[in-house]
Every structure is written in structure tokens, then in C-alpha cells.
Symmetry: C2
Subunit: 252 residues, 2 copies
């Protein structure tokens, strides 16, 4: 079989474009990178359109089912496709999932209000997955789910959790109408220590922007605010760590 040895190959140029939001939308496809992400996609039943792999991965056992969609690439092409410093040598072109909110609206929802750092967004999805949260909702101005940095930090958790983009104000109202309480995480006079909250499988938990916290109009709609009492002198926690502490309490 021929090896794709030029980064100017049309398929490779297209695959590279699929790391950029505009093209992801146009083609309804995005690019996964690295064995962990690609294996996890396949294990979760997501079907890759095409897999590009260096010789090392051409015989990979877990990719075998898709041997007819695999194309060997040179290490130069792998490096050109990679968004990491050092390419891991395997890529998959995937269909966009078009996830929907569950019907009826029930279960657990981690809601991200303008979380801008891609690493934080990815870690939040991974943490939600580990804690057993069913849905992660990306509000406006939250880093894009299919950007390479978010994909890397999610470590495949997007295949285990229902990740959806939605308007958080509308969703808050809808959740409340369905009997699901929505908790904010803004420190104010009425905020309750997280350990005092009853354990539950039905809730929305909103995490706000790294610098500015939650939008006031969203905060005003929450059923309660939760805070993490700090014994030390740090002013705040990293947003992923804070979500982890609260979610492992609520769902344990």
C-alpha cells in the first residue's frame, strides 16, 4: 500500500483543517489525535471516517476493525498534522456527534459558564465522567469542545458523557420546571458549604469563568449557591479541582 508522504496531499490538508472550528462546522467532522483518543473513540462505538497512522500503528490491534479506512502516513506528515510538539502518530477523522439534551430533563448536569481555558474545560469533562455526571453543558464563551487542547485534556471522556452546547439561562429554567435544582458556585452571604448539601443524582451545577465567576443574570436564577470552605489562605481553587470536590460529594 502507498504511504502518504506529503503534507500537501489533499486528504491531509483537509484533516488538518478539521482542527479548526469553521471547517469542523462546514464538513461536520473533527480530528482526533493520539492512540488514547482514537482507541477510546472506537471502544465507545464511534466510527472513524478515516484513520491516518504511521507504520507503528498500522498493525495496531485495536484499530484492526477499521483496517479498510486506514492510511499510512510518513512521520513528517504525522508531525504536520499534529497539534502537539511531538506527534503520537495516529489520527482519526470523526463525525460531529450532535448530542442532544436528555428528554425528559433529569439526571446530573455540569454547566460551564464561559470557562475559557481549554485545559480547564477538558479537565472538567474528564472529572464529570469520573464522578458519574451524565451531562456536561457548554455555555456561551466556553472553550470549544473539539479544539485540540480540549480534546487532549478530556482524554476520551466526551465518549462517556453527554456533552452539549446550550444556553445556560434557558436550561436553568427548563431544569427547574422539571424539578431539577440548579446550584451556583458563587461565594455570597447565602452560600452553603458543599458538605451540607444532600447527596443527589438530580442537579445542575454551574461553574463560572476563571476570573470573573458566574454571570449575574445566571446566578440570580440558581436555587442555591455552594461554596468550598477553605482552611488555608488561597483565594480560590482551580475550577476543575473545585468541581471535583463538589461533584464527588454530591454523587458519592
Amino acid at each position: 500500500m502507498e504511504i502518504i508522504a506529503s503534507p500537501k496531499n489533499d486528504h491531509i490538508k483537509l484533516a488538518k483543517k478539521l482542527t479548526v472550528k469553521k471547517y469542523q462546522k462546514d464538513y461536520d467532522r473533527y480530528l482526533l489525535e493520539g492512540p488514547h483518543q482514537v482507541h477510546d473513540a472506537i471502544a465507545s462505538g464511534a466510527e472513524p471516517d478515516r484513520i491516518y497512522a504511521t507504520s507503528k500503528y498500522m498493525q495496531d490491534r485495536e484499530l484492526r476493525t477499521y483496517y479498510n479506512r486506514m492510511f499510512e502516513i510518513s512521520s513528517d506528515v504525522a508531525q504536520a498534522l499534529s497539534s502537539a510538539k511531538t506527534s503520537q502518530g495516529v489520527f482519526a477523522v470523526m463525525k460531529m456527534p450532535h448530542n442532544q439534551l436528555p428528554k425528559p430533563l433529569s439526571g446530573s448536569f455540569l454547566m460551564l459558564d464561559a470557562i475559557q481555558d481549554p485545559g480547564n474545560v477538558g479537565t472538567l469533562v474528564r472529572t464529570a465522567d469520573a464522578a458519574g455526571v451524565k451531562n456536561v453543558i457548554l455555555g456561551k464563551q466556553t472553550a470549544d469542545e473539539f479544539s485540540p487542547k480540549v480534546l487532549r485534556a478530556m482524554q476520551g471522556s466526551q465518549f462517556h458523557v453527554n456533552v452539549v452546547s446550550a444556553d445556560l439561562i434557558k436550561l436553568t429554567t427548563a431544569l427547574q420546571r422539571s424539578g431539577v435544582p440548579v446550584y451556583g458556585t458563587e461565594l455570597n452571604d447565602e452560600a452553603k458549604p458543599y458538605a451540607s448539601m444532600a447527596k443527589t443524582e438530580n442537579f445542575g451545577l454551574i461553574m463560572g469563568n476563571e476570573g470573573n465567576g458566574m454571570r449575574p443574570e445566571l446566578l440570580a436564577r440558581t436555587d442555591a449557591n455552594i461554596y468550598i470552605p477553605m482552611r488555608g489562605r488561597a483565594e480560590s481553587l482551580n475550577v476543575g479541582v473545585a468541581a471535583g470536590v463538589v461533584l464527588f460529594h454530591l454523587l458519592s
Copy 2:
């Protein structure tokens, strides 16, 4: 007063060197960047040798005490000194702290075994601070405390917590001799769910390398291993999130 307008100014060249471990050792100084870090240093009683600031910060109220050690720099010089994409315009040359292990050995210790990502190391120190941990111990192959990325992620928590570099195997033995149990975080047959551990102010908690976990020879010396039961399908948690969940349980 004169403005330093050239990045080739000798003091500026030296300040820039103080972001690199070799020079930090030679000069026994390191460079802090950004108003948050510099304010926090001063609020904690650490005395800057020199402060370099753009005009915006020359009248800063919190820096006033040190006006005689302040030097105005142009925005070009600020950008040259900065390790961020966009400089925040204020820098401080600080003495290395030379922290020591507490005597007698008691209290809480977060021990980092070859944690390599600077963002993770910084987040771990910040999380330890928030949870009320007194000491963070950096083992071999852990990212350097005074690298710009670690400093940024710590958000000033190094001024609230005793951060020390030490050999983790020797420390584990010494803690145990002092009656302080040391917990590992390696999933094995005897690992105990974190929520079953008694709350305590006296413990060592070891977090291992992001990919490989703890070194076996260190693991073999622990008094118990703790794990975080996961309800979802994520294979693991980010190391900072995992430490947060366990520390807020132990110290709450």
C-alpha cells in the same frame, strides 16, 4: 526618574536570567511576574530586591512600601521580560526562600513524586493551600517550583505553604518514625476508598507521576493506599483534581 527602555539593560538581562534554574541557583534569586504574584509576595512579608513596573504600576498602592526599589520599564522591556504572551507589566526579583522541613516532623504533607507538568505542580500547591495542608514536598523529577509556569499556577500559594524539595523515600521513613502515617494513591488490591479514611491533621499523601504513578520503591513504604472510587468510565482523574478530592476529605 529615568525609564528603562532597552531589554539590553544589564539589570533587565539579569532579571530575565532569573527565570532559569541555573541562574536562580547562582544568584539565589528568582523572578515573579504579574500583579497577583507580586502583591501576594509583599502581603506575605517577602521582600523584593527590585520591582520593575510599567507606568501603570508605578503608582500602585500595594507596591508603595517599596517605591525606593521600583524601576520604571517601557512596555517593550516588560514584554521582553515576560514569559506570558502578553506581559502584565510588573515583575519582582525575589530571594530564594530556602524553606526547611518542620521540626519536629508533624502536620500535613503533600508529597509530589515526579509530577512533571508545571501547571499540575502549581495547581497542587494552590490546592494544598486551600485545603489547609502545611507542607508540600517536591520529590525528584518534579517540575521546578520557580519556573514561570509553576509560579503562575501557584497563584501565590507558595507564600502560604511550606514548599520544600526533599527525597521522598527518606522523608517517608522519617515521617513514620515521628508517628505520621504516609498514604499512597496507587490503585491496588489493598487500596482503601478515600471516604473510609479517618479525618486527620497528621499525614503524608503521595501523588505520583501523571503517566506512571508512584515509584514502586516508594509505594512499598506507604502505610496505606487510598483510591477514589469512580462511578463513570474515566480511567483516571487529573492529579490536581484527585489531590483536591482526597485532601478536602482528610482535612475537612
